[in-house]
Symmetry: C2
Subunit: 315 residues, 2 copies
Amino acid sequence: MKYGFGIDLGGTTVKLAFFDQEGHMLNKWEIPTVTANNGKQILPDIAASIRAHLVKIGVADQDILGVGIGVPGPVNNQGIVNMCVNLGWGEVHIEDELSALCGFPVKAGNDANVAALGEFWKGGGQGCENMVFATLGTGVGGGIVQEGKLIHGVHGCGGEIGHMVINKHETARCGCGKRGCVEQYCSATGIVRIAEQTLDRCDEPSVLRDIFPLTCKDVFDSANTGDALAAKILEQVYDYLGEFLANLCAVLDPEAIVLGGGVSKAGLPLLDGARRYFNKYAFHGTKGVRFELASLGNDAGAYGAFKLAVDAFGK
Amino acid sequence: MKYGFGIDLGGTTVKLAFFDQEGHMLNKWEIPTVTANNGKQILPDIAASIRAHLVKIGVADQDILGVGIGVPGPVNNQGIVNMCVNLGWGEVHIEDELSALCGFPVKAGNDANVAALGEFWKGGGQGCENMVFATLGTGVGGGIVQEGKLIHGVHGCGGEIGHMVINKHETARCGCGKRGCVEQYCSATGIVRIAEQTLDRCDEPSVLRDIFPLTCKDVFDSANTGDALAAKILEQVYDYLGEFLANLCAVLDPEAIVLGGGVSKAGLPLLDGARRYFNKYAFHGTKGVRFELASLGNDAGAYGAFKLAVDAFGK
């Protein structure tokens, strides 16, 4: 049996996990992400943590198939990251540099893509060959799995589905600089924005008027306990979400759509709401798609990162 | 050297072509599509035409690697067509049936997908591994090539990009039954529709007011000769087209977008117009995509159909 590492590199912490080749997570731990000095210490810290773990558990180098890593930015097909604002990075040849530091082959991918691969392998998309993963968190990210492989995209921007334009008449700007992106309506932040706008534009009573600061969870909780205005706010969100997912299906016609990220903690009401509007907007032949919730939570990135390494080095 | 057939099955004619394995088209011809009796005669007619061609040119059965065919409807991953209204077909096991009739292995795909594969192999997308093909004709179809292979979709609906919703406020219905599909704005029919609406809603003079019935070509020709209202109509079309293509790139981040179909005869002004709005709507990381015109015209389907057979049977 061979082993390896799956690493989810975030702006605050690095999540590391040690796996056997079949994808059993044997250990997991975290180290802080040191972004000072343009993040120069990040890769040496990761390499040191990998080496220390091998010493601790007494596994030899020849039993390690490789390292996979997800990073919060686009990774092109030469394994080069170009700008990770959260890490302080400009251009970083992450695969070559980390490999030189830790002594194992390294495969890198975008964090949302890698989480998609994790959910495909061991989570909500298990058993599918073709899957769309949408992560509805602070922003909206995603990943497309096609015949068991990620669509990374030529510039590392495959699966940037949160930046599809869904409302060209929007006046506010998305974080990406454009206007009317999916992320402005279907992220936790977007849902709060829709809620605040709706509260401002009508006089209808709602328990939401007494909550400050308002969170996405408040909107779902209030709708669940019968607040009519909260329910109306969510209908707007479901409408955007259903249209967005229907458009993805017209392109890809996948077997399953898996929803993850903080918003997906709303659970079945979210799936049901999105499905209702999906059915309105979807091309008829694609309606057989299954809607699933992500099941790996914060571990999806580590699982998917290790799967990158298995696919690249594990045969 | 082996040989094979690429067949483009349309509602009026069947286009057949004979290729060598490297994709040189050696002969092409057409037979009528007999749709009477629920299209029962279509596959026997094709098989007879294949057999007759082999007799005529004196090539032996063992030198034929197989037959590829594109059909005007979804083909699932078991090679089954489910409803081709244009052919009178219900459920047809096209690969098995045509194979039994002609004596060669058969691989089938949706016609727009197959045309995409043709343009990828020998046309406007040559040299790319990742390409989006959009065919702007009477309707809008398309095909996605990812790492050299088509995305057929689980239900045969991969690349049904003409039925992405782009204007949820549309009141008129698309042919598919939904409202606001790309096809309603970016097809030849859609462009005429936008032109007629624009003419009705303003009093601005235009040479288009004297043309009946108005065609898509009239709109492009009039804009080229300086008609200001025709140019404004095309700006609306380019806006939809640019948004549509930008959204595809946020999902797939391809190397090239290839535009085909009758509307693409407008040539460079179409590419330039679409690119201008694309740049407004596209996620920044995807803007390196190339815009190309399809170059195989009506032969794209035959080339792509034969490529299906090469990929399936040709190694």
